[in-house]
Amino acid sequence: MGSTGEGLGRRDLIKRSAALGLITVPTMSFLSACASGGGENSTKGPAKAPVTKENPFGVAKGGKLDVVVFKGGFGDDYAKAWEAAFDKKWGTTSSHLGTQEITAKLQPRFNGGNPPDVVDDSGAQKIPLDVLGKGGQLADLNAVLDAPSLDDPSKKVRDTLVDGAVEQGMLGGKYVVLKYVYAVSGFWYSGKLFKEKGWTAPKTWDEFLAVCTKAKEAGIGGLAHQGKYPYYINVVIMDLIAKKGGLDAVKAIDNLAPNAFEGNAAALAAVEAVYEVVEKGLLMPGTNGLTHTESQTAWNQYKAAFIPSGSWLENEQLKQTPEDFDMKFLPVPLLADSKMPLEAIRAGVDEPFIVPEKAANKAAGLEFLRSMLSREWSTIFAQQANSLTVVKDGVDPGVKLRPGTQSAVEALKAAGGNTFSYRYPDWYSEMDTEIQNASNELMAQRIQPKEWIKRAQAAVNKAAQDPNAKNNKRS
């Protein structure tokens, strides 16, 4: 039969067809660029204006601007407002497309060499960024980072961004993705409920338990969590570990240290603290089996005092939140002898914006991104999409935001440089899943904290054998 011979032939076939595909894609765009490009482009495309300090990319007045954004949780009203502002300043005519079908709408355009000028490549149907990067489709955004900031021309844009924003937009050593949304995670509560009951925001874990106990006495649950998705309760556990053990504890977990959990006093204390909530019956009844929308809605109906989530919570729950709910953010309270202050919070970036390399009006695309990183546009986003951006202090203090976003802005200001983030969920999905499973068991009181530690360490040790473990290191 010669099955091995057949197998090799088949693999060769796949490799060859894959190679052919890889060659064909750039070739096609090259050919079509030839067909439509060259002299024609310079007559049809906008003439380049001289580069000045106010106009670092040489945007010509009166050109066209083509913007495509993912119309998901943030809607697309913010983008329309931006385009109006851009048109007003530069005399451009912008076309807008808000869609969830990014791949279907854009793949033919990328292949044909006529991509839009700005793309928010997000959602379930996004085009993988590494694929675009390999095909040479992404413009280098370093120019944007090095251009003067619109708010303060003596500063570079680079220096107006929050810490870590630039690193997380790098692909193959180049800055090509502007991850625009900044999310902080922790607990949330209703300002109205707390005022009514005379409770104050807890600073320590003991105070947190005390509020939960009072809530239970008042006939409502203490802590609600999105039980069907243990990701959220893991935020609480991991943040407690980070705050008690400091950045070293975070790095030990991300770097898969043999004592990341086992033999780490901070980790055991954190898990025991969360378990105390379960043991004392301070969870909202039934919360362990609820989805994120079910539990968050119950919390919106004042059935629990606290819920863990990120700063996208307010926008996600917009329809379910009572008008006078007064949503408030609370950094995870401290355990005794914590190395980080109370104000320290977990923060991360997301929502990737790109400028295609072959965009017809690339200069305007880059200018659009520079404008996005201005305080004015950042404020527009915060107002329309109820979310923070990567612009440091990027929201105008005079502007009225929804209460949840407002409290996240204040928390971020108070945190200053005390922000941290975990990388292991992106790096080691299997380890993440196993720790989530363990947390689910812990919350259902089927395992004890010591067993949780054992299982988490086993997951770490298993991940250490992952081939990726060689490449993923943080210091």
């Binding site: 490799k15 362990n288 089996g289 609820l290 899943t433 499973n437 689910n440």
Partner: protein, 314 residues
């Protein structure tokens, strides 16, 4: 083959009609299986066209994988209970609807309102699995907002502060899912068995009744033997459904592609999908696919063999 291809007229015509479906079948059914088999010997990640040949490593790892073994066990449990419970219920209802009524002067008939019952029983079959998972999600909801919990709390059977977390209870979750499958399936098999029963000549029943047979006797001595072909087919279909279960488990239980809590509702297809799409272990997932294919085929053959009986002509 060559003389068929050469022959014009009748043979060419037949070959033309055979060739297109065969080509489609080979391209879209057989070729993916062959590919899966090939990939199962590689460390393909599913995200890049490059991979290495790793021999039977994936299969060796599969033997040691406790999650997959647990999933296999769950599939086997379902394989026994899904067909058994569904077919027994469907047979019982079908018999009641068609021949369970009081034997009057007119002979054999169903219980009163049997037409109405048939529609009601068939109704769940009309719903898609996606709707079903939302519906039963609301029934099994873990707080007092759930239908079951609300009902039981109202009766004072459970404490409102400790509702039953149906799908988050390791010992309950699989049975909760089984109930959904049975609820969904009974109607269809009821109609199938009804059709088979109606094709049984009435005089056989009448003869049985005249000889003084009771309902149970009529069922076991007359109905069941005459329905055996339908029952056998149903068992194979339900068995294949029990080997899959992907949609319900992945939408109703916790975890990436379901399987929670802590792998207690895991079935082979959910483990496969998680490895394929989420963990980036596509080669390993392909090995699972091959095992699933082999098991399903073996089980189908066993079911058909084990239930083989003398065919009764009527």
């Amino acid at each position: 083959m060559s003389h068929v291809a050469q022959g014009r007229g009748k043979y060419g015509f037949i070959a033309g009609f055979l060739f297109a479906p065969l080509a489609l079948y080979l391209t879209f059914v057989i070729w993916p299986y062959v590919q899966t088999f090939g990939y199962s010997f590689t460390n393909w990640t599913g995200q890049s066209p490059t991979f290495d040949f790793v021999g039977t490593d994936n299969y060796a790892a599969l033997l040691k994988d406790e999650v997959f073994r647990g999933a296999l066990w769950h599939n086997l449990l379902l394989l026994v209970f899904v067909p058994l419970v569904t077919i027994l219920l469907a047979l019982f209802f079908a018999f009641m609807v068609n021949a369970g009524g009081r034997g009057g002067a007119g002979g054999v008939q169903g219980v009163g309102g049997s037409r109405f019952y048939k529609v009601v029983y068939f109704f769940p079959q009309v719903l898609s699995l996606a709707i079903l998972s939302v519906l039963f999600g609301a029934i099994y909801r873990s707080d007092e907002g759930g239908l079951l919990n609300g009902f039981l709390t109202g009766l004072g059977l459970i404490d409102a502060n400790h509702p039953v977390e149906w799908l988050n209870e390791p010992n309950l979750v699989l049975w909760c899912l089984l109930l959904v499958v049975v609820w969904h399936g009974v109607g269809f098999y009821l109609v199938l068995f009804s059709a088979a029963m109606q094709s049984v000549p009435k005089d056989i029943y009448e003869a049985a009744l005249l000889d003084g047979a009771g309902r149970a006797q009529t069922f076991f001595k007359v109905t069941l033997p005459l329905l055996w072909d339908s029952v056998q087919t149903s068992a194979v279909y339900l068995g294949i459904a029990a080997m899959d279960m992907f949609v319900l488990v992945s939408t109703m239980t916790s975890g990436q592609f379901g399987g929670g809590p802590d792998h207690h509702s895991e079935v082979m297809s959910t483990v496969l999908m998680r490895n394929f799409l989420y963990f980036g272990k596509s080669g390993y997932a392909c090995a699972m696919g091959v095992v699933m294919l082999a098991l399903t085929m073996i089980l189908s053959v066993i079911t058909l063999r084990a239930t083989r009986r003398e065919r009764i002509e009527f």
